[in-house]
Point group: C2
Chain length 323, copies 2
């Protein structure tokens, strides 16, 4: 893959995806002891960066496509559901039965047919591929698809441009990393547009497949698929397309705890006035609470999604709202 | 006042204030039965539109200014505190003793000296003017200052441009209205740049001084200064400078309940992923729950601020998070 594919995706997304703001606060800078900038992808259509990749892929489908299928814990689901609706195509979405209610309901409300599976025992890839073949639908994978990676890469183009506007050309860029679609897309974009920026992945404790894969040099797998509040980024392993890109371009992976995610969510609420979900808060948590592990200079983190149920957000505010 | 003053303010704010996004969601459109767009000023520096007017005014002060003074329930306070800090000037802020904790703490953390007064019994204007004279400080009024109105008007320039990008040149524009600085600034900007847009004010029940003033044609006053959760927009009456502008350009005022504000805050959380405070939610509440009182067509509402304490936000999520 190359920057040309990301630039082409940016053209397809023009006027469709939002250019999300790069936010900051002196209060966050003080906690981190450095400048912290937050790429607020929670403000993207459907509440996560996933709309970028979804539209990038769905917009390239031929006119006679009979429909699309996606498997997703919820954010890719909503992105694909909205992209399909914009194209006037039916969408079938395979989601884990324990996906957050908000994500399930939104996906259905966007007009998609939702099919659930058991995250612990069933293989969503196999299920999705079988269903797509059976019904003659175009499968839109969550990350291992060049059109999807290119779409997520448009977020990196924006980061490069917005950072340059602030006079920043060198920084650590922290990404919330599941299968690596956003990470590899951003890394490719920055390689071309802001080569002095270094991308590092962030994952929840116990689900650090990418950090371990980057350390070992080969694709490693998580022992479990449940047990984190960061549902958006719990994937079995980095992708076959995304991992080689990350291996070439991304620095050592970082890991944060669920409690650190909840604290970061509350600080984003108090200081940036944005709503982020646990899986979208890992990068900010690392920026704020892992400063000692980062190179000097500004840090830019993706706030990759905001689809959190009210009840969990209340819990976060209860625990850390007085901090 | 005229559009030239707003354009000059826009030049002063260039690179200082954020161009906040104009957000929307199909889920909100469905509730309102029309297209709803939200100008997310909660994402402005210091969490409200007030930074615009504050920087517009403070940036024009002569080099030898010894400091600034402002009176404010909290958002103008933070805007002026940050603007003063950017100019390297000391700031004294007169705030009501019952202002939300987050606003008091942030104002102090931005380096300002905070002086408190009793909102029910003391006259903040008189107190502020006396203190400014005594200490030789430049008084930055919250709304009755042409530099401040012009700064808030830059929000209107952005609305006109962003709506045009979406193909919208005719709409109802709902503003969260306290003293009328934001409303009159936006109305002046739209008069010049989007004359088919109609500005209407929104206030909390029982504190509808502007709605009554627009109805009677003269400045009316609220009977009380406490008793609403919408602290940001509880002012005694529209301003001497702002009211004539509103009288000339703005339609009948609307009123919403505190509970409707809490519901609107939760819907902004769920659907837009932004944090808005009660006083910043009145316009969205009117867009969603007063559709019958509005002309046909799209509605654009200001989400004017997001400085809400965690405890009140939890209450809102508890009451309406399952909606």
């Amino acid at each position: 893959m190359n920057i040309g594919e990301i630039e082409a995706a940016a053209q397809r997304l023009e006027g469709r995806a939002r250019r999300t703001p790069l936010l900051g606060s002196p209060f966050l800078d003080e906690i981190a002891g450095r400048q912290v900038l937050v790429k607020a992808e929670c403000l993207q259509h459907t509440g996560s960066f996933k709309f970028r990749g979804a539209w990038s892929a769905v917009s390239t489908l031929p006119e006679d496509t009979s429909g699309v299928l996606a498997f997703s814990s919820g954010n890719h689901a909503q992105g694909v559901a909205m992209a399909a609706r914009l194209r006037g195509l039916p969408a079938v979405i395979v989601m884990p039965a324990d996906a957050p209610r908000l994500k399930r309901e939104n996906t259905a409300a966007l007009g998609a047919e939702v099919v659930t599976y058991d995250r612990a025992t069933e293989d969503r890839d196999a299920l999705g591929e079988a269903l797509a073949a059976e019904r003659g639908l175009a499968l839109i994978r969550p990350f291992d698809d060049p059109r999807v990676i290119a779409g997520q890469g448009t977020c990196g183009l924006e980061i490069a441009g917005q950072a340059a506007d602030l006079g920043i050309d060198k920084a650590t860029v922290l990404t919330c990393c599941g299968g690596g679609g956003l990470t590899s897309g951003i890394a490719l974009a920055l390689e071309a547009r802001a080569p002095r920026m270094k991308v590092r992945t962030v994952e929840p404790e116990g689900f650090d497949d990418t950090a371990r894969s980057l350390a070992s040099g080969q694709i490693e797998t998580n022992p479990a698929m449940t047990g984190s509040i960061c549902d958006a980024i719990v994937t079995p392993s980095p992708g076959r397309l995304t991992f080689p890109i990350m291996k070439r371009l991304c620095g050592p992976g970082l890991v944060v705890s669920d409690e650190e995610c909840l604290r970061a969510m509350v600080l984003a609420f108090l200081r940036l006035k944005i709503v982020i979900e646990p899986g979208g808060a890992v990068a900010l948590a690392a920026a704020l609470f892992r400063s000692d592990d980062l190179d000097d200079g500004p840090v830019i983190c993706t706030a990759s999604g905001g689809n959190v149920d009210a009840e969990l957000f209340r819990t976060a505010l209860e625990r850390y709202g007085d901090a």
